[in-house]
């Protein structure tokens, strides 16, 4: 077993907020509340969840873009700090980020070729000619050509722009790419192009991905392991085929059942959750999901279920799945 490239250990990000205006009580908003995972080199961990579950904050914590309020992040054995010093910059050469909106991530007034080379200039790597050759090689790797070097972002389609963003992210030969909804803004036919490209890049360069998306189908497609988040915590984690074909946590079950299917398999029973997710400032006691869970018991309000492995290695944070409720009844 190789040592993991990225390790998040009980990471937390709490924000102090005031409810009810300026004089209201100070409360803490737990955007990320004790999340742990490891990404091995060259592998993909998918992070899924609905808006507000903390998946994007997790991405920022991992890269040191937002300071932790608890826990640690280690990259290649070294702690990642949010102090943006020389050590952090060195680390950041090896960990890059890809966002959802390529037009927002690119500079509209700069030809895309210059933008692809810019990271090399920032890190003072190579000569101008060498940088140009490298940019050309990467453009080719993402399925574009020399004719695109001089173009501006508005002259490219959405899919081409995301390819440029990928080329730029890969030019420093990073070992980790954090992708936050990288294909969500693209049309279906273009989405498949970029998903396949991400697979090619991983096979060719051996880069690891932390892949964040709300789209379960895309996450299953690209991931070696998947973690499902709800209100700042991982509720289920495991191998993607197992996790999506046989979800254990009631939230994962509802989430999987909510995905409409185009392939005639209408037999899948839909679990309709009541209401919206609670406000992250007012996370329910015990299990955060219990207010929308059809199986909730008194125990779920008293004690927070920890993420524990089942016999086959799938990790679940649910009292019912682990038989805690039955155990209490017996006692």
């Amino acid at each position: 077993m190789t040592a993991p490239l990225l390790v998040a250990d009980a990471i937390e990000r709490h924000y102090e907020v005031r409810r009810d205006g300026l004089l209201g009580k100070r409360r803490s908003l737990r955007a990320v509340d004790g999340v742990s995972f490891a990404v091995p080199p060259g592998r993909t961990l998918g992070l899924v969840g609905e808006s507000g579950c903390g998946k994007s904050t997790t991405a920022k914590l991992v890269l040191g873009l937002v300071p932790l309020t608890g826990g640690t992040v280690r990259f290649d054995g070294q702690p990642v700090q949010a102090r943006h010093d020389a050590a952090w910059r060195r680390q950041r050469r090896d960990m890059q980020m890809v966002y959802q909106d390529p037009l927002g991530a690119l500079d509209r007034r700069l030809p895309v070729g210059r933008q692809i080379m810019e990271p090399l200039a920032i890190h003072r790597i190579g000569t101008p000619n060498g940088r140009r050759d490298k940019a050309m090689a990467l453009l080719e790797a993402v399925g574009l050509g020399a004719s695109h070097l001089g173009r501006y972002p508005h002259e490219l389609s959405g899919g081409q722009r995301q390819r440029i963003v990928l080329a730029r992210a890969m030019i420093l030969e990073p070992r980790l790419l954090v992708c936050d909804e990288p294909v969500s803004a693209l049309d279906v036919s273009i989405q498949a192009q970029v998903v396949n490209l991400l697979g090619d890049i991983q096979a060719r360069f051996g880069v690891a991905y932390l892949f964040i998306s709300h789209d379960l189908r895309i996450v299953r497609q690209v991931s070696h392991e998947v973690a499902v988040m709800y209100l700042g915590r991982i509720v289920e984690q495991g191998e993607p085929d197992r996790l999506f074909s046989q979800p254990e946590h009631p939230y994962t079950r509802a989430l999987v059942s909510a995905i409409p299917t185009a392939r005639g398999a209408k037999a899948r029973e839909r679990i309709l959750l009541q209401g919206d997710p609670p406000n992250p400032v007012d996370v329910p006691s015990g299990c955060a999901f219990r207010t929308r869970c059809a199986w909730a018991q008194p125990l779920c309000a008293e004690r927070r279920p920890e993420l524990r492995p089942l016999a086959d290695g799938t990790r679940v944070a649910c009292h019912m799945t682990h038989g805690d409720i039955a155990a209490r009844r017996a006692a």
Partner: protein, 337 residues
Amino acid sequence: MFGLAPPPILEIAGLTVDFDTGKRIVRAVHGVDLKLGRGEALGLVGESGSGKSVTWMAVMRLLGPRARIGGEILLDGASIPDMPEPAVEKLRGRRMAMIFQDATSALNPVHRIGSQLAEAVRLHRGLSGASARVEARRLLDRVRIANAQQRLDEYPHQLSGGMNQRVMIAMALAGAPDLLIADEPTTALDATIQAQILDLLREIRRDSGMAMVLISHDLGVVAENCDRIAVMYAGRIVEEAPSDALFEDPRHPYTRGLMAALPDLDGPRRALVAIPGTVPEPWSLPPGCSFAPRCPDAVPACAAGVPPLLASGSRRRAACIRVAGADVAAPTRELVW
């Protein structure tokens, strides 16, 4: 479908939409023919720029002065393009209503939910004062908003995205329309909330017999909620079929391409088969079939002329010269990472 069938609620024939951009005239919709039966649910899928929204904005006459509409749009036999504006205003909301993707920005942020709903009730039903408020409350109950009485006094920003979409649906129901046009109604919502909204629309249609056009980029959403599906590409319908038939046996290469490009949630993982290239810009469509440059089955004849949308088996149509002879299964490959 045959002699005794009641006339369709909506009939579109040869619909074209041109936009005057000042520099040139760009055609966004190139002759769409569609019929919608009473109480029927029709799905319209396509990628961005396919003309799926513009078609229905034209039906609602919401396109503004820069758009020129050609062809026929008949609502219950009455021609919408020929109607004077006041007559169209009477149709909107009462005979046909529309809901959009972003409900939170479709609602007025500075007015309470209750007064916005009451306004719709006053416009479409002529109720006012206390009776309008009672009706607003009933509509909120109808779309299953808890604490309806309290919500009436709240503002859109105090409600979640899913709840605001329920409010929009309530407003659309105020005039008890015969036809609801839902343009990507759940695209901005989370999966579990999307399931709630689609369930609500199903329930309302079951109770009221309202016809629905569901516009979506998500094949799964239309497959589960519609009787019939039309697939649009570059301003034309390229295939139309009953939902089950379309998914069991897609005929047009574009429809097949869309399905092969979509990952599954179950079954073995396979490499996605992407459609190469991009959707053409409306002002530079290729000659002949617009999909030909991206089509794996294209032959030189495809560029010769626009293929007509012809019957292809029972109750379905496809616009492809290769459909009759082509026998190409959607390719699948084992996934190798």
